[in-house]
Amino acid sequence: MTAALALEPPQLMTTPPLLTLRGVSRRYGDVIALQDVSATVYPAEVLGIVGESGSGKSTLLRMMHLEDSPDSGDYRLALPGLSGNLFDLDRFARRMLRATRIGIVYQNPHQGLLMSHTSSGNVAERLLIAGERSFGALRARARDALDASEFPLERMDARPIELSGGMQQRVQLAKAIALEPALLLLDEPTTGLDVSVQALVLDTLKRLQRDRAITMVIVSHDLGVIRTMADRVMVMRRGRVVEEGLADQVFQDPQHAYTQQLVHAKL
């Protein structure tokens, strides 16, 4: 009895965040794209970023993908071998980090895929950049990645240009997850797809997230997509974060006037 009472108070679970972005600001001429934006993403969590067109959400995702540098700000990923502000990395280091640790799915497949190469080749390219030089392994790993993104394998050697929009997104997804990235960035992954295909792609994403516990950041203007996918939500407007919180909380009880408008404006 007394032994039970003598127990030390339990320690709190503290998982350090995978992604920490602090005070990121970016201007393009007179246009303020981002102003003092901070974000934190924990491992295996899905962060949704919503906002209207021009609110800076895609710019923020580009920063996370190290495609662009901000005027000021600090970006860290808690990954082995990485320290310091990632915005200070040079082009080569950024490229290697992008190629091996971060996956991205763009809204427009033309941005993320080599349209004149085969679908399996597109996936294999990622592996080639990472140094895989065995044809058999490339083929097997490309097949696995395409299979995981529920791409019909009999079409794995078709060029993406010959495929439907939903399939192109699946190729992009396979390419992004081929190297088991620590972070998966999704920029409007289902915009432009019809509703049923959109649901299928979201299903795949959801299943991947469950099976592989991938950390995701998903940007969308579609609240439905965010509601299905995200654990936490960030609402952006005019380059600022106006509200942040758990997805249910934000959607059930929006605090900021803009978020209220956004939630109620849903058709």
């Binding site: 080749g121 294999a124 390219e125 080639l128 030089r133």
Partner: protein, 303 residues
Amino acid sequence: MTLAALTRPWEPMSYGFLDASAKRELRRKMLKAIAVPGCQMPYASREVPMARGWGTGGLQVTLTLLRPSSVVKVIDQGADDSVNAASIRSFLTKVSGARETWDTLEATIIQSRHRIPEERLRADQVLVLQVPNPEPLRPVQPDMSVARQMHADADYGRLWLVLYEQIVRSGRIMEGAAYPALVNGRHVMTPSPIPRWDVPKLHMAPHLTFLSAGREKRLHAVPPFTRVEPLVFSDVPYQVEDHANLTCHRSGVSGYFMNEIPQGDGTSRFELSDSHLGIKAIRRAEGAAMAVGPTWYDGKLPR
């Protein structure tokens, strides 16, 4: 003392056709190219009395290297007697006073398009290849400024991607000529029109090789004893054309790179691509004393 005594006598053209400053620039670029094996060096490609695309790049390098004591051999498609080879050779000898030859063993400078001679080159010989397209990344990256960045990053994944897709589509690598090769473990070059057969001849070769593209205004070099490794997958071996069992219908020799000559009845005959090696073999069979040097693939080809 008169002014005339201080100057050189008037000449109708400068030695070796190119003016001194042009040759100086080329020499500097050639030295740079040797210093960074396989890296493409831009140079100011000068006008020569020949159309761009007909070997002006190789011609300029050869003109820069020539001395009156040089012995020059020019090959076009393996042959010494084709029109292009003959006219380049006569031009070279005319402007430099160098001696011309068809014999690989005798030559000090060999300018070539398409082929590396079958007889092994020595350390005192220089091979100059005329290259139409020096950029291996052009098929995968049309933007040349991005391609240069890819060279800087050694970002050559897409070249393997091309090979991957050839195996996927055709079951084998289809790159017959211009096979990309990694030079000194750093830069990928395309030794453009030479066949796959000839690429291993550059690996750890004792001679110096220049590859120069006049139209593209770029040259690169493979210095002696430099690694030249064709891009391959670890589980797909590098294969050259299966010519080991073909026999030349004129000289009767086999085991070398052959030209296929289609016949009227639908069959084809083969003859040695390296024409002077064939001539030597025929003369030797007739009883003449001909020295044939050791060849690259002596006993190394599977029969």
